[in-house]
Amino acid sequence: MIDAISKNEMSTEPGAVRKRKILIVEDEFVNREILTAMLDPEYEVVTAVSGEDAEAVLLRHPGEISLVLLDLNLPDRHGLDILREMKKDLRTAKIPVIVLTSDKEAEVECLDLGAIDFIPKPYPIQKVVQARIRRTIELSEDRDLIRGTERDHLTGLYTREYFYRYAAQYDVYNPDVPTDALVLDINHFHMINERFGKQYADEVLVRSGQAILEAVGLCGGIACRRSADMFLVYCPHLSDYKAFLDGIVTAACGADKGRIRIRLGVCSETDKSVEMQTRFDRAKIAADTVRGSFTDCIAFYDNALHEKEVYAERLLYEFQTAIDEKQFSVYFQPKYYIRPEKPVLCGAEALVRWIHPDLGVISPGIFIPLFEDNGLIRMLDRYVWRETVMQIAEWKKKYGCTVPVSVNVSRIDMLDPDLIETLRELVQSGGLEFCDLHLEITESAYTEDARQIISTVNSLRDIGFVIEMDDFGSGYSSLNMISTLPIDVLKLDMVFIRNVFSENGNLRMLKVIFEIADTLSVPMIAEGVETAEQLTALREMGCDMVQGYYFSSPKPASEFEKYIREWLPTVESAAV
């Protein structure tokens, strides 16, 4: 009673409460009147006395009817026919229908056709009728909400959240079915976006999604669009993923055969105790191993990958301990000035090694990319800078001379607002000149946020730091850019040197580069020099400095000192 009063009161405010609309299809006046009276305060009731009438009302109120109460015996049509037609028509298929009947035999058929519930005749008391109707509307609206959010609007595939829940549900009911977690990723999707436009890219996504849905339908799995161009599939184990993927790629390409490439990572038949998300992370790791490949597009997460992942995980986990226990050791590789007949030591590059108590010496090739991925590299770089400054200071004290050492400054460091202050304090704390510490900034960093990087580099140079552009020749520097960049030294990439001196290498390329460096008056260091022949050639081309195994591998500080001692007499004689 109180409920009814408060609702009535509310409805006197304009627009305060909008009642849900219920359509009663019933030809008997008395029955119609009773139902209307039962529902009237809570709902807006619309009535129809025949099948034709009902159809007209439904079309007149598209999307407005929350529920239909349907009598089976109508003068023009049987209620079941109306129900059947409603379910076939997309405009009315989702409206819940409660059948009014005293006919037990019709019940199963009604349910099969999509009726949600029954109200028998004679009608139950008002409260019961109202409760059934309220519950039915509630369920149906919830279902619509779920349908509205469980699917990605573009492709019609599940969204991630629902996907993971349905996948978990799948496992609950199929605990013994070997099931694979799949990740499908469109190669270079951002380039498709850029080259052919968003609309085209969307069409590719829709076609891919559709094809995935069909493929998954055939094998009894489920699929979702995980993010922009990445799809997840959870399905019973398949033996032939090539056919599976080929079908999808063909459909994704549409008329533009061969334009779209999709890579597939499979985490196969794993132990279901492994968390769902982890299985997909693994499939993703597998997929990314064939990211750039034109020949392979399917990869399985296997033992080797697992070990690599576990290894990487361990390294990440033990990083802090390694820093605390000084397991990272800074090695020094000498740089030689090669213009004179007898090359002269002119500096060194600081290179980090991880001397792990159990795993032995770990190559920076393994842990640097790992730490770059998650930002730990910042801490490691600072560690190396500190150790290096201390080492330069120690040598200065011991030998009375300075060996300038270059350290790596990672891309992420360049975005650090405290970078300049940190470096300044560090150098000052060691009692060094700024020019004693050289900073190596990788070529590709310049191309990312060039303006900010250039401004930071300028500030560092103004203070007195020497800037070396690392990995020159491996990236995409344009000549134009190099001529305007604030650089003191160009470091020619090791891989570049190796290629040039290989069988099919082109020495002329190298010569051109040295000419450019000469024109710009920027000295050049060649990295990775391994043979006397390379040294001679580089010298002839006008290379200033060389670093590489020909002279020495990177050495611990104590071993590096022998190069300083060899060099000392020349320094002293020069001083005299």
Binding site: D27, N31, E33, I34, N73, K121, P122
Partner: protein, 113 residues
């Protein structure tokens, strides 16, 4: 004019009927008035006399629903019986049962005058 007392005396389950009509006496009585003047009663007689048992069943079925909802028990019971026979298209003499129904209906009309 119909009253609750008269209906009760007729044998209707007034409390049940009233409850279904959201306990509104006027509304309940109005619906009973309407129901007893439904031409379906006479249609039932004519249709069955013509031997159209299928249509006869439809009419009886509808009347059964209405009388059940209004809890007009004596009418409902008679109609239910004939509806069951008609559902199975039973070949029998329906005249007596139909006359009994009409008599009950007429009894109510008399009460309403």
């Amino acid at each position: 004019m119909l009253t609750l007392e008269k209906l009760r005396a007729f044998g209707a389950n007034v409390e049940e009927g009233l409850q279904r009509c959201v306990n509104n006496e006027t509304f309940y009585l109005k619906l009973v008035e309407k129901a007893i003047r439904d031409p379906a009663f006479d249609n039932l007689r004519e249709t069955v006399e013509k031997g159209d048992l299928e249509r006869g069943f439809e009419i009886a079925h509808a009347l059964k629903g209405v009388t059940a909802n209004l809890a007009l028990t004596p009418l409902f019971v008679s109609i239910s019986e004939i509806a069951e026979l008609l559902r199975h298209r039973t070949e029998t003499d329906y005249r007596q049962s139909i006359e009994a129904i009409i008599a009950k209906r007429d009894e109510l009309i008399a009460l309403s005058l």
